[in-house]
């Protein structure tokens, strides 16, 4: 998963940077507006969408805070993401009715050349705020490492790693994508 961090950080031209930023801002808006199918359409066929859970371990513990074979809130391929979207769209998705209000705030976007031609490594930070019914308010803050792949005039998301600050998720559920 971390192969990209070993690549040299070769910045992209300003136009590519702008287009990637637009892609991420638009993605955030699609999620805020519960446009689930439009969001799914941004995914590459081989998407790996991963949000590991954080473990508190001593610094000397070589196992590290998270790993691919440990706990995860998302460890999804396209089929898995599609299943989650299928649930969101059911009239019986009780925890979505009345609708949850989302704000996906994306910032700190850095774009570098990827390991393959037409791929880009994109770092970003996010703030996610969800509000439900009267005063269920949940805040998640974290950082993402994406691989975007050029696709026609736009991009597809091929990899996403989401690292949040919480080890105990301070919420009853995670009814959104990040």
């Amino acid at each position: 998963m971390n192969a990209k961090t070993t690549l040299p950080e070769i910045p992209v031209d300003a136009e590519t940077q702008r287009r990637v930023e637009q892609f991420l801002f638009r993605e955030a808006r699609l999620l805020d507006n519960e446009r689930w199918d439009d969001w799914l359409a941004l995914m590459a066929e081989d998407i790996h969408y991963w949000m590991p859970t954080m473990e508190n371990r001593r610094r000397a513990d070589k196992n590290g805070t998270y790993a691919i074979d440990r706990g995860a809130l998302y460890n999804d391929n396209l089929r898995d993401l599609t299943r989650r979207v299928t649930r969101f769209k059911q009239p019986t998705a009780w925890a979505e009715d009345p609708a949850t209000r989302h704000a996906h705030v994306v910032s700190g976007i850095e774009v570098y050349q990827g390991g393959q031609a037409g791929e880009f490594i994109v770092h970003s930070t996010f703030v996610n705020y969800r509000s439900r019914v009267e005063k269920d308010n949940d805040l998640l803050v974290g950082r993402r490492e994406d691989v975007l792949r050029a696709d026609g005039d736009g991009f597809r998301l091929a990899r996403r790693k989401i690292i949040i600050t919480q080890s105990v998720l301070m919420a009853k559920n995670l009814n959104t994508f990040l």
Binding site: D69, A72, R83, L174
Partner: protein, 457 residues
């Protein structure tokens, strides 16, 4: 089996039991299928639960596979008491309060790991993995004061024991044995935790989250409430299998509620019903191939439970789902909050790709992002929170399903009820809760259930 704390000096002080809240009997009218909402809201009831349930019962603390080597430890909770569960050099397991006996600071801040010692960050008091105080920073000052190190080790829990890889501990020196505590529920536990001769293991770490609900809503849901699945989890089932939840209420002859000492298991005999919701055919194949072998070892009935539509709670706050293979503890955090810790369990001998599918499958279905668990939390939160209303919480709740479904003429262990759509287990759960809440000590807890299994099987 291990009971490593037995030979320790008693260093766990307990105040004499506090006076009970009056008129607890009035909270439950189980024969009428009614109960008070106060049990989910009242702060004094919660405090009494801490003393008479969580500081008394055997509580799940770890799986043996989490701490295979000497010095391996996990940090977990018994009620709101933070404890360290540590594998010893002789292979036994000990448990300690995670607090320094000097000024009270937490001695271990990691969730898990391997340690040669636990050293308090405050004044450098250092404890061996056996809990003994080995030394302190500026040790000569303590020597000058004449302090006896042997009197200041970590506070050991009262007893540690395990069953089929599941490690339990109790903070009450007078607790019955774990075998007695689990009683006939062990018969059913074997269907899942002794499914094949390799036993089970926990894989993939722990997922933790907070739900603003009373702990009993979660426990009672898993102790017997399959009823909610067809309604609450319709969206999850449509997502995972493309159709609604199985209509188990139409075939009560195939399913049961069983309970013993407040533990309860509702189950169908469809072999793979729970597992099917993970949407992985390979897992179904794995269970179908295993089922005849389980039948040979444990008999036909238990072989049909291995991944069936079912759920179980071990009193008070540990639950699991066969087939979906999620194992979880609902740690109480005041009357209106729990901290949920979940793990994935698998058969040790299962192929790696099967284990990986289960690890992914539990996260996909029964984690905070899971398509089933997603809708549970909100139900429990608002079932709890609505009781903030002063008049609201004076209204009774109903739990009367399945009166007259008791199966008397059976060799099956435990109290057996026909039909998994039932509230017999929930009533038994609350009866046990009331028995413990009323009793001043284990000696006065009534033994309502007559075991068919022998002690220490």
């Amino acid at each position: 089996m291990c009971n490593a704390n037995g030979d320790q000096p008693i260093r766990l002080k307990r105040r004499p039991i506090a006076q009970s809240i009056e008129n607890l009997d009035q909270l439950l009218s189980l024969e009428q299928g009614r109960m008070s909402r106060d049990v989910f809201w009242d702060k004094d009831i919660y405090e009494q639960e801490m003393e008479r349930i969580f500081a008394r019962c055997w509580l799940f603390v770890a799986h043996e596979s989490q701490i295979p080597k000497a010095g391996d430890y996990v940090s977990t909770y018994m009620g709101e008491d933070n404890v360290l569960i540590v594998r010893q050099k002789d292979g036994s397991i000990k448990g300690f309060l995670n607090t320094c006996p000097h000024r009270g600071n937490k001695v271990c801040f990691a969730d898990l790991g391997n340690a040669r010692q636990f050293v308090c960050n405050y004044h450098g008091w250092a404890f061996g993995i056996d809990g003994g105080l080995k030394g302190m920073h500026a040790s000569e000052t303590y020597e000058a004061a004449g302090m006896d190190k042997s009197e200041h080790g970590l506070h050991p829990v009262a007893h540690v024991d395990s069953y089929r890889g599941l490690i339990f501990a109790t903070l009450d020196p007078d607790a019955p044995s774990l075998a007695d505590y689990l009683g006939d529920m062990r018969y059913y536990l074997d269907a899942v935790f002794d499914m094949d001769e390799g036993g089970t293991e926990f894989i993939g770490g722990c997922v933790k989250s907070v739900i603003q609900c009373n702990w009993k809503y979660a426990s009672e849901n898993f102790v017997g409430d399959i009823l909610h699945a067809g309604w609450t989890h319709d969206s999850g089932a449509k997502a995972m299998v493309g159709g609604p939840v199985a209509e188990v209420h139409k075939t009560p002859e195939q399913s049961y509620h069983v309970n013993f000492n407040g533990h309860g298991w509702e189950f169908n005999q469809d072999i793979v019903g729970n597992c099917a919701t993970l949407g992985e055919k390979e897992l179904l194949k794995y269970l179908y191939v295993l089922q005849p072998k389980v039948a040979e070892r444990l008999g036909e009935l238990r072989s049909k439970m291995i991944g069936a539509i079912s759920s179980c709670t071990l009193f008070p706050n540990t639950s699991f789902l066969p087939g979906q293979n999620t194992f979880r503890t609902w740690h109480p955090r005041g009357p209106g909050q729990i901290e949920l810790h979940t793990w994935t369990f698998v058969n040790k001998k299962a192929p790696q790709e099967i284990k990986d599918m289960w690890r992914k499958g539990t996260m996909m279905t029964f984690s905070p992002s899971g398509v089933f668990e997603m809708d549970d939390g909100e139900n429990w939160e608002y079932s709890t929170r609505s009781n903030a209303g002063f008049v609201t919480r004076q209204q009774d709740l109903y739990l009367g399903l399945g009166h007259d479904t008791r199966v008397e003429d059976t060799d099956l262990p435990g109290n057996v009820y026909q039909g998994q759509i039932n509230e017999a287990n929930q009533r038994a759960f609350y009866q046990r809760w009331l028995d413990l809440m009323k009793a001043d000590s284990w000696k006065t807890v009534p033994q309502r259930d007559v075991p068919k299994m022998k002690e220490g099987v």
